[in-house]
Amino acid sequence: MKFGVIVFPGSNCDHDCYHVIRHVMGMPVEFVWHKETHLSGFDCLILPGGFSYGDYLRTGAIARFSPVMRAVEDFAEAGGPVLGICNGFQILLEAGLLPGAMLRNRSLSFICQDVYLCLENPHIPFTLLGHSSQVLRMPIAHGEGNYYADPQTLAELEANGQVVFRYCTAEGEKTDGANPNGSLHHIAGICNREGNVLGIMPHPERCCEGILGNEDGKLIFESILLTR
């Protein structure tokens, strides 16, 4: 299974994703420069974290117009799995591949720390190996992860099982105190209706190795591998 990691100017978790795919999962992977217009030969695309275009104006606002995004849309349309992590998630929102938008964290500051996530939908390609209500620990590192959508969109997300991860306590309780950024419905990750496009704020690629003290992120990458 071949992965493509899209590199926007300002991406900075591109190498981390590459490292996990190649050296931890042992899978072929290539960087894809944002000016590419064709994406052939890839079985899964990752939009990594970082500060594409400095996150100026709004996170992901300028990156979504990168030439490669057309091809990403086509790829997603054809059912190909697309994973947006952090800034990648923000780009997917701006591009309209996922509904809603990100606001600044309610604390107004950037937050880098471990959080707990409750797996709400273990049936999409990225979560097949998990089970419902499973609690995972993963780091976040963002200043704008406060997910917003209008009430109707939220209701649709909920009804269709598109909320994939919610912030929770270590014990799995979805409380306001466990929500690090003020995100509506404690949303940490959502997918599209078809389930092949996933956006998450936490960084699974930062927790895939024992030496880093946490391997919970592997669930996502190992799940994708199962689909082939």
Partner: protein, 746 residues
Amino acid sequence: MQEPPITPELVARHGLTEEEYDRILKALGREPTFTELGIFSASWNEHCSYKSSKPVLKLFPTSGEDILIEAGEENAGVVDIGDGLVVCFKVESHNHPSAVEPFQGAATGVGGILRDIFTMGARPIALLDSLRFGPLTEPRNRYLLHGVVSGISFYGNCMGVPTVGGEVYFDEAYQGNPLVNVLCVGIARRKEIVRARASGTGNPVYYVGSATGRDGLGGASFASRELTEESERDRPAVQVGDPFTEKLLLEACLELFKTGHVVAIQDMGAAGLTCSTAEMAARGGCGIEIDVEKVPRREPGMIPYEVLLSESQERMLLVIQRGREEAVETILRRWDLHAVAIGRVTDDGLVRVKDCGRVVAEIPARALVDEAPVYVREEREPPYLRETRNLDLRCLEEPQDYQGILIRLLSSPTLASKQWVFRQYDHMVRTNTVVLPGSDAGVVRIKGTDKALALTIDGNGRYSYLDPYEGGKIAVAEAARNLVCSGARPLAITNCLNFGNPEKPEIFWQFRRCVEGMAEACRRFNTPVTGGNVSFYNEGPEGAVYPTPVVGMVGLIEELGRMAPITAWFKNEGDLIILLGETQEALGGSEYLKEIHGRVAGLPPQLDLEREASLQQACLEAIRAGIIHSAHDCSEGGLAIALAECCICGPGHGRGAHIDLFAPEIRTDALLFGESPSRIVLSLEAQHLPQLKGIAEGRGIPLSLLGQVGGDHFSLEMSASGLYIHLPISELKGIWSGAIERCLRI
């Protein structure tokens, strides 16, 4: 624009003395032009020329087995770590800009030090920051803390370089003049190190990066003056940083270096285009000719003087191999970067600046760099020392409520958890951070090897205020101890020396004594100085800051696979708690004395370098033997605070401990809160105690059993004196971790 004639007033306004002006006349053999006067002024000011500090900095040891490039030869020294890899690291101050515009001041400080490292061909792998502010009871200081931390966070996070450690102190001495020092560590293949010395007559000189504007005009001279009320209006000296452009520069430069087309590179830092041109030429023993007309500009109507002295950020000067222009430009274009050939290398040793064909400046490069004036400043022991030395402990009443004091100290911002700060920094990006902020040192693995680097930054200004020599020694010793507690062997240091106005003899005395102390400690620990930064004129309306030497140290862990790095916090129920080293009656300069008794007095703890070295060797040996579960250095706040930290500083809920102290020959407050150095708190399984004893005895280091890890309380007792502290861990953790946030919510 008509250039103003050179008058004595104009010379003085450029911060040049009469003697210095005479020197200029001699160097040129004629009167300088207006542009040349500006160039001399920028190159010869304190910040760029080190004219006051140079003779003193010679006291530092700079060579060693692992040192490939020594301090001063390049932008930063280079240390060999084997496997064909080298480390280079350096610390930079941005105190003055941060005082007037904390967010951008701190952000551009991060930008500058990152450029220093990646222009050497190294990829930045970590940042650390050392901060000093006035008390958080003042709104202005809260504003500064907010601004500085978010500025560092903004720039460092965007660059994708993790900030893995740092320190923050709060003290009235920094009221009006905060300190913002940032350390960057980079890694390169030994073969790919890039120099900053121009060579090859006819090679083109390229300007790469952001266009030049009028911002930051005269920033270096700004940093060479005391802060006054007017500084607040010193608009041009503060710039706005663009981390996005810098990220592109970083990636483009590292890609360029791999091609071998780059002969030399230097970033345009303080004094901008002027300094970088002169330094590259002087280092290479050649000349450089540039045409200012070709320099990309953001604003119309700029005169050569302004273009040459602007300190606009995110700009680089490159010398490349003739004939490789096309290849170089292609790479830079791919990264959307401006690249313009603005000149070439010459063989006449002159920095020549042309504007529309007319020569506006022509100065021997050496005159600007190597022949800058050097001063042997007058020095005198400051009179305040006579008073502070006379601390009579008998006048200090011993407190009754030790539990209350422990709580007060744990919630004082200087001792409290700095989580509020480091949580705003991305400390995990690059997925190498094996020990996150919160332990004694940050640890970063090096992918593709079995190695890791341990990194720390330390310096206690109050100690140096009370005795600069001891303060300097302790800063180095503490840094080394922090690394050793993580299981690393200290390699080398960088430093930032933050002092007041060096033209005042008392300040200069502090400066020299401090460097002497640091130098002696560096020699003993075999940790040469690879570079650093001197920041003078740190004076607010109320006088100079504490003399504050900040030491950044890098240590090596050779076999990460065999042994995970050690952290500060207790791990297992039932482990024994051991103190390596000895507690003396050292209350002078302590946090306890300041916080509880409101006194800054006494002599700081006296450090015996031999004893310290043995202690560190013993600790490292025990860690390498694989018998240690946690190691924490005992520093500010003393033994009681160190023990409490071992219980609460780890991730999760923390661990309780039962501690039983012996009846001592020293006062109880000194036992609990005195800051005698050369002490480490360890925890290990009982069965390994004999082995640890053997190691300690072998090094002549005393060892005492303090208690045991367990339960959910921190209990500390000493039956002889009736002392009894008993507090739930959850409460202790809450007090300590939330203290800074509570201060900010006032």
